[in-house]
């Protein structure tokens, strides 16, 4: 972006804040307002985050309000990189460029305004979001920042330099590519160590799928190598029976799984991790740090006092602590799996509720939605966990309905379906 455009945009945002939604909105939406019978927009929703949750919320608010609500998305990254399927980059059957997309179609098809910037503060009294290069006001704010990593107990891993040595690769991108390259350079007979944080974290089956993908690569190319898993949890927390079987049958003798093994320190130079009981040295080390609600949620004071996630009303995803601010996706304290499908499902309940609330009506009193997580055990075979979730009016939470469960076994057929899932969810959130 050149200076002039930059200046214009900054000025646009500031001015928009000063003039309020009505003036700018009236100008901005003139062509559509004419089609809609010259109605000015009924308000502005600002969405922080262009991941699965943020894009879904933005798109469905535009659709269900029939263009009558102005939507502005703030996202620092110029591209969307999918976490789902990114473990397959480690296995070698996908490239990162298969999972990387732009936001152009989404913006164009739905008239969504886009600001590529980083949020620096949220002032919920003034209903204003501050960014590095400007600020903007909202009528309602949706916070969808995904997860933030907690380095309190692992301060050595906080720097970009340390993460080059020991990538988390838990947000898909260059770290994923880096981890793949490290595996490629590892000698046959090397040791890959992965550490899994205490739940809840993003993508419950994700670490176990990652172990399958690394094992798949090592079995074919470096069969003398070993994988040591240090899991802070007492057991495999998702699809346990299925993963246990796959590890025993497909990757026999390769995976050493150690439960109750939270790490307490890391030596970056020697790639050595310590638990309370032992020290483990790796050739390639992948530390998945503990997680909490993303930084913008912290800035807006949305985290519960004793729990690093955001409590919401499950009818609208409005924060229980800050009015007119909604939270969707991984940052929500819900007891629900932090998955991409879940993020989109929550985002649509939120979108639907906002469209109603902004027109003085009530949201659906009992939302129901689906979630599915597929995991790939090699280049072709996948397995699911799938559930429908229903609002429980007495407990005021989403609970899983009867009939959910997991695949009987991984299969090629479900591998093909899992790819189709990815294609359709990408199309849903990005076009």
């Amino acid at each position: 972006m050149n200076n002039t455009a930059d200046f214009n945009r900054r000025d646009f945002i500031k001015t928009a804040g000063v003039l309020g939604a009505s003036v700018l909105g009236a100008l901005a939406f003139t062509p559509h307002a004419v089609a809609m019978g010259k109605k000015p927009p009924i308000g502005r929703v600002v969405v922080i985050g262009g991941g699965y949750a943020g894009t879904s919320a933005a798109k469905y608010i535009r659709m269900w309000s029939m263009g009558s609500i102005e939507v502005v998305v703030i996202e620092p990254s110029p591209q969307f990189v999918s976490c789902p399927l990114s473990n397959l980059v480690l296995g070698g059957s996908q490239q990162i460029s298969d999972l990387t997309f732009g936001y152009d179609m989404l913006k164009k098809h739905h008239g969504i305004q886009w600001v590529q910037d980083t949020v620096t503060a949220v002032n919920s009294d003034a209903k204003k979001v501050m960014m590095q290069r400007g600020e903007i006001t909202y009528d309602r704010l949706i916070v969808a920042p995904g997860v933030d990593f907690i380095y309190d107990r692992l301060p050595q891993l906080q720097t970009a330099e340390a993460q080059k040595q020991i990538p988390h690769a838990w947000k898909a991108g260059w770290q994923t590519v880096n981890l793949r390259q490290q595996l490629e350079s590892m000698p046959n007979g090397g040791v890959f160590v992965i550490t899994i944080p205490q739940a809840p974290y993003r993508c419950p089956p994700g670490p176990y799928e990652r172990i399958c993908q690394v094992a798949y690569y090592l079995k074919a190319h470096k069969p003398k190598s070993k994988i040591i898993v240090l899991d802070a949890n007492a057991e495999i927390i998702s699809k346990k029976g299925l993963f246990t079987k796959v590890w025993a049958n497909n990757y026999a003798g390769m995976i050493d799984y150690r439960p109750d093994s939270a790490i307490v320190s890391v030596d970056v130079q020697t790639k050595t991790v310590s638990t309370e009981f032992e020290q483990v040295k790796a050739d390639v080390l992948n530390v998945i740090p503990p997680q909490r609600a993303g930084k913008p949620a912290q800035m807006a004071n949305l985290l519960a006092s004793d729990y690093p996630w955001c409590e919401v009303d499950f009818l609208s995803y409005e924060s229980k602590t800050v009015a007119n601010v909604h939270v969707v996706g991984d940052s929500v304290a819900s007891g629900l799996p932090k998955s991409a499908h879940m993020a989109t499902s929550q985002a649509r309940v939120c979108a639907s509720a906002i469209v109603e609330l902004m027109q003085g009506r009530s949201p659906d009193p009992a939302p129901v939605f689906a979630n599915t997580c597929y995991s790939f055990v090699d280049d072709k075979q996948a397995m699911h966990v799938a559930n429908v979730y229903r609002y429980d009016a007495a407990k005021k939470i989403m609970v899983s309905a009867e009939g959910g469960g997991v695949s009987p076994a991984p299969s090629d057929k479900e591998g093909a379906y899992a790819k189709a899932w990815a294609h359709n969810i990408w199309s849903d959130v990005l076009t």
């Binding site: 098809h109 008239g111 639907s352 429908v388």
Partner: protein, 130 residues
């Protein structure tokens, strides 16, 4: 000042209406709030409003937009009872009430079949990740 903002909008094309679409494309009169969010959670596998994408992969998901109402309803009931074998649909059909199945069948039968595509994959840009 006003002129300035307007100019910005015209040259930037950041602000756009929903192009080429009528309001009715998104909402039909009897559409219930409950059904629209529930139906939207089928989009992960069947595409936005049931319009599954066509790709050159070995397999594409079934588009359910604009299918016959009675057909959709019967399929969902058959997944539920197990009459029709499924890899995953029995999980979804089982969690629904019969009324929800009827509403979903109605919802998808009213959707216009459209050609939906995948976004274009891109090379990852050289920016620092978090």
């Amino acid at each position: 000042m006003k002129t300035f903002i307007l100019n910005f909008i015209l040259i930037s094309s950041v602000v756009l209406p929903i192009p080429g679409r009528a309001a009715e494309d998104f909402v039909y009169p009897a559409q219930g709030l409950h059904t629209r969010t529930l139906a939207a959670s089928c989009a992960a596998c069947h595409g936005t409003n049931g319009n599954a994408v066509k790709t050159n992969a070995e397999f594409d998901a079934t588009a359910i937009a604009g299918l016959d109402k009675a057909y959709i309803e019967q399929r969902l009931i058959d997944f539920r009872t197990g009459v029709r074998p499924a890899t995953v649909m029995h999980r979804h059909a089982n969690g629904l009430t019969l009324d929800e199945i009827k509403q979903l069948a109605d919802y998808f039968s009213r959707q216009k079949p459209e050609k939906h595509t995948m976004p274009e994959p891109q090379m990852l840009k050289a920016v620092q990740d978090e």
